[in-house]
Amino acid sequence: MRRRDAVKRLLSNRKNLLVVAGLGSTAWDCTAAGDSPLTFPMWGAMGQAAMMGLGLALAQPKRRVLVITGDGEALMGMGALATIGVQQPENLTVVVIDNERYGETGMQETHTAHGVDLAGVARSCGFKVFDLENLPNAIHKLPGPNFAALKVKAEKIPLVLPPRDGALLKARFRRALLGVKADAE
């Protein structure tokens, strides 16, 4: 499976989905699938993508929230899976695009290249685990927290960059979600 195809499939017909994209390749994948104000691409804070998703899911219980991140990013914040497991947010899905590499730093192998099973960790923490086929239904309908680790080909592909001004990314997300009242908060 190629990463851009997988992410494009998850974000096609995204409806009201709120998306957090983990730093690096998954942020570029989400942008390649179509930049949206309701996608928050991270350019830093490695390890925090899933927690951003939890905060968003708790604040917006009526919306579906999807975190798309990489295996290196997820490994740095593995405790977040335990924290989310305790909270059991029904509207949150975390998807790891797993190429078994640190893509931004020279394609060095991550722990998942050596047998570490992120889906197994997520299951132990209280997530329901899905494969690609059932994932769209999990993202949009099934009670979570849901998880998938999608193994993808390790490949160097052209960068597709989202805006990088953090304050802009925050403000456009809140406006698109909350309307102009977001500016008065």
Partner: protein, 172 residues
């Protein structure tokens, strides 16, 4: 009691999400937040998670606060970069160790580094030494954070925590 005062200020400011790493100094406040049906108290494995939690909640339109001990400040340094770059409002309430009358030498290096570390990352630091000042300072911190999209930390002096030995800490 100052923990009740903090809880009243958080509730009055509309704080709905409270991230915390269990801490003896915040024991009472954590209990109050957990018992408050309007608040979602989220136990974290490391303080760093609380920054992602607070940022995500703000993206979704909710106010939050983060509770930690001074040692936890060391765990959030890099992710404070996101708070600054994105101008996320952030209120961090820190119970101090390694400060006045510390009995564990391993707490001292981080305790002494809390203020310079936070300030280096662009966080405004308020320090409280009197019980009667805790609630007013937290009130001001909440207004500064949410009114001006600022990162604000309130350091609650070890003198107010009042734990003087390992045994006393364990007994709480």
């Amino acid at each position: 009691m100052w923990p009740e005062g903090i809880h009243r200020e958080l509730a009055a400011a509309g704080v709905r999400v409270v991230g915390y790493v269990p801490d003896a100094g915040h024991k009472r406040l954590i209990e109050l937040c957990r018992a408050d049906r309007k608040m979602r108290a989220v136990v974290l494995t490391t303080e760093e998670e609380g920054i992602g939690l607070a940022a995500g909640a703000w993206l979704g339109g909710q106010r939050s606060a983060l509770l930690m001990q001074s040692s936890g400040v060391g765990n959030i340094v890099n992710v404070l970069g996101m708070v600054r770059e994105c101008r996320f409002p952030l209120v961090t309430l820190v119970t101090m160790r390694g400060e006045q009358g510390e009995f564990n030498p391993w707490q001292v290096p981080m305790g002494q580094a809390v203020r310079p570390v936070l300030e280096a990352m662009g966080t405004v630091v308020h320090h409280v030494e009197e019980a009667a000042q805790v609630a007013p300072v937290v009130n001001a911190a909440l207004r500064l954070a949410f009114g001006s999209y600022a990162s604000v930390a309130v350091l609650i002096s070890q003198r107010l925590i009042g734990i003087k030995s390992f045994q006393e800490q364990a007994d709480r």
